[in-house]
Symmetry: C2
Subunit: 396 residues, 2 copies
């Protein structure tokens, strides 16, 4: 019998208890013994939950329970969760989390702490919810140099953009629907301004660079709150969709570029068909070519099932650091300044005027008022476009 | 320095040497030391290959090289490859392969042999080429019961079906194009009759059932050679595409069903948009919901990169069985007889006549001559359809 403790009994934390209850047999078969939730630490009580008898408010009781060898951290944020994670790892208890904020800000330190204490810090659920992406990217693509990642990693914004397109809603109205459906919080900033995507991109980029840490604050980030229905309709008119893309690019021999921004995505790309709250992450390896991972990027049970998979991995290798990825800081700058990043853009404006102004770039006309310009540095865009023309990032 | 040996220097085997050469640094970083190809066993010489100096024709020299701790088996088939794999595993050398025929027919025995000799038998590349699917299915979805798998796992047939649809070619002409492009062999039977897909489904199903072995010969299999351009066009007319689907279904508390057959796939499903030689595998877990893995299902470097990822996993855990999945035989029948499998079908025929004949089933009319019938046992289909009506499997 392996005993686990859960820190924070919110959506994902309670989902972990539910998944273990619903798939007890399968989980026991995988682990070779039963897995049980022994204690749950939360400030609240949960009288309606079948797991309420496991809840304690006393962190000493929780951490001093020597039977608990694996701690699930589903508090969120980077304050209490940070302190508790350090405490557990320092005691040699493996920690499993879905907390993208904590991993992306303190991952380097926490992974080292795990290694120093012969335990694991695992976070498959931090990106893409239940979609397997952390292990596949690190382990299955280990023989590839990762050239590109383009991910729809935030379901809230994808839901809003899908609603705008399908129902002709304004951004504000679509946001209200997302809030009414429980897909957006009352304060939606972290989602709609791209901060959630930024954190996830920090994690993906650090793995893609074999552990060279890319901090969230080094990632230029634009959200979707300035997009208009006109933008959405313009994309549709050229057989494309607007998606918030977490973008990583690392040409062989070049410097990596990372940013989060809305992109017009051609429908020739599978990722343009990923709608609603679904997530998808396209990864290009220099040997593999393009691959894509698709599924529910959030949701209680989906995310919880990824947490439990990590619990199993940690449990099968107790008192050992089974890190999926190990990060380190470098003194030098890891990624390009955003203004130096070379991008493809879709320009809205008189196509012939744009093409003749930008003769030194590769351009392709999609419609009388739509041209794709390839290989332009971000800092040059506004200076070089004819007046009146506007633009968005483009993914072909 | 870790030394590997390659058995069989064909497309994938030579790709393995190429991937190790092109990504030496990344691979060394992952492994913590350099990985080199020390010897290649093949009956042929390769005067134009930069690796020709490593080729030996002498199997004694190959197997007696005590520096070789990991053997890549890329011979194919289940005869010589079987003998050599047993020989290597018996000596405690881990074996990595892309050989779906060998894994699907002798996997149970070879995995046991690996365990008995403290080494690994790994085969990420056997399904989906370079697409990570074996590890994600077993490890990342470990906390899920796998309810359904629907996979496009054969690029040759998907290329043929895409050509028929896009260029209005007959099956024979599309097959000729596939052969001209190197996507189909001169004897295309294993691909077009679904045998390759059957082997891959055997592997996926055995993993989905936590190791309960599903043999290829227990899987009802139909290929694409009987499909006509009319079938393809009919599917298009109702906004769907014809795909060869490897199908696994395991309702909670029920008996698993497995079969390979052409399906009409609604374009509301992402898998319908997977064209050409690409593969995609949709997996539904009871906690995760639907996820999908997409990419190049074949191709020299793509497949080789998955082989090398397994080499790294084996190399990081030498003298230990790091099996991704461990299979076992059961005395009882694992899956339903095909005639008892309950399916959804698309019926071509007068929609009202079909609906009124099949009143006891859930039907939905898609067009005057097209009805979807859900939940019908295979054995009942032909008996119950009105005369003149024809049908294909349907995936909604």
């Amino acid at each position: 019998m392996k005993s686990i403790g859960i820190l924070g009994f919110g959506v994902v934390g309670s989902g972990v208890a539910e998944v273990i209850a619903m798939n007890t047999e399968k989980i026991a078969k995988h682990m070779g013994e039963e897995v049980r939730v022994k204690r749950i630490l939360d400030l609240r009580d949960f009288p309606d939950s079948p797991f309420n008898n496991l809840v304690t408010h006393d962190s000493e009781e929780f951490f001093n329970d020597s039977e608990i060898s694996i701690v699930v951290e589903t508090i969120g944020g980077a304050r209490v969760a940070y302190e508790f994670t350090k405490r557990a790892l320092s005691m040699g208890k493996s920690v499993v989390t879905s907390n993208k904020e904590l991993v992306s800000t303190h991952g380097v330190e926490l992974m080292q702490l795990a290694e120093d204490n012969n335990c694991s810090y695992l976070f498959e659920a931090a990106v893409g919810g239940g979609i397997p992406i952390i292990r596949p990217l690190h382990r299955c693509l280990a023989a590839n140099q990762i050239l590109k990642i383009a991910g729809i990693v935030n379901g809230t914004t994808n839901f809003i953009l899908t609603k705008m397109r399908d129902e002709g809603l304004s951004y504000d109205d679509a946001l209200k629907q997302a809030q009414a459906n429980g897909y957006a919080e009352q304060n939606p900033t972290a989602d709609v301004e791209g901060i959630d995507a930024q954190r996830k991109l920090s994690i993906l980029s650090s793995i893609a660079l074999s552990g060279q840490y890319v901090s969230p604050d080094s990632i230029h980030t634009e959200g979707i709150s300035k997009l208009t229905l006109d933008d959405i309709n313009f994309a549709e008119s050229i057989n494309a969709s607007v998606k918030l893309i977490a973008y990583f690019s690392h040409p062989e021999g070049g410097v990596p570029a990372v940013f989060v921004a809305p992109h017009v995505v051609s429908k020739s790309s599978l990722i343009a068909s990923v709608d609603g709250v679904f997530n998808a992450i396209m990864v290009e390896g220099n040997a593999l070519g393009e691959s894509m991972f698709y599924g529910q990027g959030a949701g209680k049970l989906a995310t919880a099932s990824a947490v439990v998979a990590d619990v199993l991995d940690a449990g099968l290798h107790l008192h050992k650091d089974v890190h999926i990825t190990k990060w380190y800081n470098t003194d030098s700058k890891v990624t390009l300044d955003y203004e130096d990043v070379v991008v493809s853009i879709l320009v809205k404006g008189d196509a012939d005027a744009v093409s003749s102004t930008l003769v030194s770039y590769e351009t392709s006309k999609l419609a009388d008022n739509a041209v794709v310009v390839k290989g332009i540095a971000h800092k040059d865009i506004d200076a070089k476009l004819p007046s009146g023309a506007t633009w968005l990032h483009y993914l072909g």
